[in-house]
Amino acid sequence: MAKLNMVEAINLGLREEMERDDRIVILGEDVGREGGVFRVTDGLQQKFGEDRVVDTPLEELGIVGVAFGMAVYGIRPIAEIQFEGFLYPCLDQINNHIGRIRTRSRGRFTCPLVIRVPYGGGIHAPEHHSDSPEAILAHIPGIKVVIPSTPYEAKGLLLSSIRDPDPVIFMEPKRIYRAIREEVPEGDYTIPLGKARLVQEGKDVTVVAWGAMVREVLNATEQLKGDKIDLEVIDLRTISPMDVETIITSIRKTGRGVIVHEAPRTCGLAAEIIAQINEKALLSLQAPVERVTGFDIPVPLMKTEHYYLPNPKRIVMAVKKVMSF
């Protein structure tokens, strides 16, 4: 079986799904002839033609608004927004129409589209190329938000996202686009939305993460083996709707939790997870739940970016803190 990185895995998933379902149209800036600035759509226009893989004018709001119009007509659009920093003009369409159309038309019109967007820091990028807006998106009713953490996960989650009858924002952690290489099967397999992944079982501390942070957590796990601290690692996979049940089951077992996200701290998703733990498993806790997060600042340029991003050292410190109670 071929070992692929995340870019290749997503490319494979797109190619196979477009073969399977001729309603799919990919649209976005530079996705066609160039194959995407990260090469995620490489070769697809050559294979499927200019009517199915479309280079659009430079207009993010327009791309997503047009994708909405296509979706209600019966096309399955996959719109690419080149960087998360450019997603914000689309929030109007996402919040005001994409997430609402099914309920406000009582099902007469629905919007089965996917918006793919590279997100996250750690690649020494220019400004506005390193944000993590998943909490903003999770707060919007009527949409789903999915974040893969490995190549295998990416293809399986992508296929589920494309097939979902409701709108999905598929956020791709660009830091690990090429950093991980693993076996990714050809052919049809899906990973269900709304279900977290138990990456490894452990008895001492539940650590919840997603995207590029899962790898940071696994690095911390290695460091903690020396301290005989045994982590149970959960990869959230679907940000919204979140698999709360898996988290609670784990917390009830370990009694200690650490949540890791690179998004800014205040009102980040860790706060929501801790609120859920508070509601459903407070009495199981042996210690307050710790958050290892980015800060309430724009992601700095590369000279000081490393101060911003959560790293294994901070994760280890948080784990030791909850163990100290």
């Binding site: 327009g62 608004g65 047009v66 009527g142």
Partner: protein, 357 residues
């Protein structure tokens, strides 16, 4: 020379067939015969009365905030007359006219303004999208649907309705730009009613006309007298035929006037005087059509009285029918968001249920 060339926006000529006094501009062809004209006049009169009823129902607390069409009837009836079954309409929120022209029952229209989402559920086969409140956000959507149809080889057109205010929004520009590049079968119908709430048309753009903005995007624009039913029909037909045969989009600017408030929550006396409104009264789309029909021996006071009574009866029935529809049950607000309810929504519905017991 075709219509679009004759009335190229930079020539500064507004397309008109029917003058305010009910006589015709010389040498121009009528798009419809007497029978159709009378029927559409009756339609416009009905719409005006239904619209007025909306204002009244709001004052009585039986409608939520309502945005009246008053004055713009010819824009919507004329353009709606041209569209065919299978075409898609993307309205803004002042569109009782095109809604009824698309074959949606007045009862359903009313249900929306009474606060029930079921009113936005167009019948199967009627491709009318729900209203779009965030101004202009529906315009790129109309382009997307048109483009999807084109990719599939379906010979439908889409029409987006919006006001002069919407033409200042980025959405408008992105939509027209996209439509020009991909030559989508889209009709952009701007009802220039001179006001965006209190802000006059002169403040929206320094362009002499709205129609000329199409030139920048590489396709035809035409400014028509939006209160002239015949001109609206003719211009729309030209645009629709062109779109349906692969000729791409058109921007139609219908010059009209908003006689009523922006919505029932607005007080226009704060920003405009009767003196400013007066010059538009003789340009009223119903007034001139009435003059025309009277001149052809097709209109009388008795006729007007009869159709008014019939209309009021029909409107009464629509109100009655709409008010007889039960409110949605509370579970509906949770079950209709996704195809399959999420655990979060299930949990939240259970919570709400417990508070209602």
């Amino acid at each position: 020379m075709g219509l679009m060339e004759d009335y190229h926006p930079l020539k500064g000529k507004m397309f008109q067939i029917l003058k305010p006094d009910g006589t015709l501009q010389p040498g121009l062809k009528l798009p419809i015969d007497d029978k159709e004209t009378l029927a559409l006049y009756q339609k416009m009169a009905f719409i005006r009365l239904a619209d007025q009823r909306g204002l009244l129902l709001q004052r009585q607390g039986r409608f939520g905030t309502y945005a009246p069409i008053w004055g713009q009837e010819a824009c919507q009836v004329g353009s709606g007359y041209v569209l065919q079954k299978g075409d898609w309409v993307f309205p803004a929120f002042r569109e009782i006219g095109i809604t009824l022209m698309m074959g949606i029952a007045l009862k359903n229209f009313m249900l929306y303004w009474m606060g029930n989402e079921i009113g936005s559920r167009a019948p199967e086969g009627v491709n009318m999208m729900p209203v779009s409140i965030p101004v202009g956000t529906h315009i790129p959507q109309a382009v997307g649907t048109a483009w999807a149809a084109k990719l599939k080889g379906d010979k439908i057109v889409t029409a987006a309705y919006f006001g002069d205010g919407a033409t200042s929004k980025g959405d408008f520009h992105e939509a027209l730009n996209f439509a020009g590049v991909f030559k989508t079968p889209t009709i952009f119908f701007c009802q220039n009613n001179q006001f965006a709430i209190s802000v006059p048309r002169s403040r929206q753009t320094a362009s002499a006309t709205i129609a000329q903005k199409a030139i920048a995007y590489g396709f035809d624009g035409i400014q028509v007298d939006g209160n002239d039913l015949f001109a609206v029909i003719t211009a729309t037909k030209e645009a629709v035929d062109k779109a349906r045969s692969g000729g791409g989009p058109t921007l139609i600017e219908g010059v009209t006037f908003r006689f009523g408030p922006h919505t029932t929550a607005d007080d226009p006396t704060k920003y405009r005087t009767e003196k400013e409104i007066d010059p538009w009264k003789p340009l009223d789309p119903l007034v001139r059509l009435r003059f025309y029909l009277k001149g052809r021996g097709l209109w009388s006071e008795e006729f007007e009285q009869r159709i008014t009574e019939e209309a009021q009866k029909e409107i009464d029935q629509a109100v009655k029918d709409a008010e007889a529809v039960p409110s949605p049950t509370p579970d509906e607000i949770f079950t209709s968001v996704f195809a399959v309810m999420t655990p979060q929504l299930k949990e939240q519905w259970e919570y709400l249920k417990s508070t209602l017991a």
